[in-house]
């Protein structure tokens, strides 16, 4: 671990990359969102995708997990095409529509995280129950195990969804804005859990707005604004100039960088909404 508590992998590591993207084009059926993405993510490493709404973060994550086809270039996940590694990938999407209708308990939601490992038939063991409980404890929701999901607050529901991803014990975690709706305690637990996952050897790809905490925990940062603005280590990439290109306006107050987003993303020429 380095001085920031980040897991450091040896530079000479020759293991198969979890993700390898070469000249990758992503988007929806007829609309290209981002062209020419190049990066590689190795086991035990994390990459943060940063950018405004609509810049291509979620599109890239969905392409990685196989929910969207790539529009050009090459993308391999553990050396195989996307969508063929269900047992090794855990995905946390941005939207869940099940909160109010589905009668389901917290423990059952977290248990679903183990389904990819067991398919239709295979029975879960006591060890799985322990893993499920550990995941709930990691997110501080073990006392809510028997509570209906629909009775929880938005933040508690988000903790449940993160616990579901942790319960998978996947080799690659793909997280779309995982800290949205979390309070300070929840964010702290989440950051600890992410660190634990990296120690376990898992890789993480996370779309985030959190430049200060979450992104600096990652080994690589990719700035997106419907194109790759910059990619590299947080120290290399999180500069006022690069953030300015990505978000529109950046304020520095001593040590902290504060991003004030433009009214519309995508490199819009609209005047930025700067707070006075």
């Amino acid at each position: 671990m380095d001085s920031q508590g980040k897991v450091v992998t040896s530079p000479g590591s020759v293991s198969t990359p979890c993700i390898q993207a070469k000249a990758l084009d992503i988007g929806y059926s007829k609309e290209v969102v981002v062209l020419d993405i190049n990066f590689e993510l190795r086991p035990g490493e994390a990459i943060a995708l940063i950018g405004t709404n609509g810049c291509g973060k979620s599109t890239l994550l969905k392409t990685i997990v196989g929910l969207l086809p790539s529009l050009g270039g090459q993308l391999s996940i553990f050396g195989t095409p996307p969508g063929s590694n269900h047992r090794r990938i855990a995905y946390l999407g941005q939207f869940h529509n099940s909160g109010f209708v589905l009668p389901i308990r917290v423990v059952d939601v977290v248990r679903m995280g183990r389904f990819p490992l067991y398919g239709l038939w295979k029975r879960m063991s006591r060890q799985d129950d322990e893993i499920i409980f550990t995941a709930m404890r990691a997110m501080g929701i073990q006392k809510l195990a028997d509570s209906p999901l629909r009775s929880l607050s938005g933040g508690q529901q988000q903790r449940t969804y993160i616990a579901q991803v942790l319960a998978h014990q996947a080799d690659l975690l793909v997280l779309d804005e995982p800290t949205s709706g979390l309070d300070a305690g929840g964010r702290e637990l989440y950051l600890q859990a992410v660190n634990d996952e990296l120690h376990r050897g898992a890789s993480i790809t996370v779309a985030t707005h959190d430049i200060q905490e979450e992104a600096t925990l990652c080994h690589q940062v990719m700035l997106l604004a419907r194109k790759v603005v910059a990619i590299g280590t947080p120290q290399e990439v999180l500069t006022p100039e690069a953030l300015l290109k990505t978000f529109g306006i950046v304020v520095t107050d001593g040590k902290r960088l504060q991003v004030l987003e433009t009214k519309h993303g995508h490199g819009s020429s609209d005047a930025p909404e700067a707070k006075k």
Binding site: H86, H96, S98, V101, L102, P103, I104, D108, M112
Partner: protein, 283 residues
């Protein structure tokens, strides 16, 4: 006690109706649970009505109505899938178009024939009091098939109800399991129309499962409540129809909708007490 048991113990047609009704209730409760959870109520309704032309044509050419219903349901599901995939229209629009088109076609076919007046009532409201042993056996097989589907597909169905994207990433094809779910709903509608009719089968699909959803924190419990409410409606509806000489199918559905509203009111009162205990004591 006599008025509760004698109608079934001394009339074989009532006993057969009850057995068929219990099987229909189980099938509708299971399929209805996923109709509610996946927000498929409109397609459930449309299937109930959309099978009408198939049944009408089958009766006209002398085939069993159930075969016509199966063809009608297949046409509906195929049409909805085609329109949704080949256009930018949402499935709601596709369902609405086919629903109204098929219903109109059914009425046109029926209106062209003089021999349909009795059959039309039978199609729309069922003939539970005249149910045959053969129909009960078909219903039994269909119910067992539905139970088997739910047991085999419990994990993908749960994930699909929770979040379709999660289901896909977990390795369960959303398209495949959604179609299996539609197939299950279609089987339920097809075999249930003989018992409660095409108009009323929708009520049995959603009312017991809806009441179950209000009371449960687990899908299994929701399904169990739905079966209980369905069977209770069947028994009570048949009893009311017997003693007061009312239409059996409509009596059953009225009871099931009434049960839903009773559960709804009780749940609301309980919820208010839990949320505002101090305000209530002050008031």
């Amino acid at each position: 006690m006599d008025i509760l048991i004698t109608p079934f113990s001394s009339n074989s047609f009532m006993l057969q109706a009850l057995i068929a009704g219990i099987l229909v209730s189980i099938a509708c409760a299971i399929a209805g649970t996923f109709v509610i959870l996946r927000g498929l109520a409109f397609i459930g309704d449309a299937l109930g009505h959309g099978v009408l032309p198939g049944i009408a044509v089958a009766i006209l050419v002398g085939f069993p109505g159930i075969i016509g219903a199966a063809i009608g349901a297949g046409f509906m599901i195929g049409g909805i899938t085609l329109i949704t995939q080949r256009s930018r229209l949402s499935s709601d629009t596709a369902i609405g178009l086919l629903f109204i088109g098929m219903l109109s076609l059914g009425v046109v076919i029926v209106s062209r024939s003089n021999s349909f007046s009795g059959d039309l009532t039978r199609i729309l409201f069922g003939e539970i009091l005249g149910i045959s042993v053969q129909s009960i056996l078909i219903q039994l097989v269909a119910t067992l098939v539905i139970i088997a589907i739910v047991i085999i597909c419990r994990r993908p169905f749960l994930l699909l109800s929770f979040d379709p994207e999660q289901a896909e990433v977990a390795g369960f094809s959303v398209r495949l399991y959604h179609n299996i779910m539609l197939f299950m709903i279609a089987i339920t509608v097809i075999v249930s129309f003989q018992t409660v009719g095409t108009l009323l089968v929708f009520g049995l699909l959603i009312a017991p499962a809806g009441a179950g959803a209000l009371l449960s924190r687990k899908i299994e419990t929701m399904m169990a409540w739905a079966i209980f409410f369905g069977v209770l409606s069947m028994y009570s509806g048949l009893l009311i129809s017997y003693h007061f000489n009312l239409a059996a199918g409509a009596s059953i559905i009225l009871v099931t909708v009434l049960i839903f509203f009773i559960v709804f009111v009780i749940q609301n009162i309980r919820h208010r007490r839990l949320v505002h205990p101090q305000e209530l004591t002050r008031g």
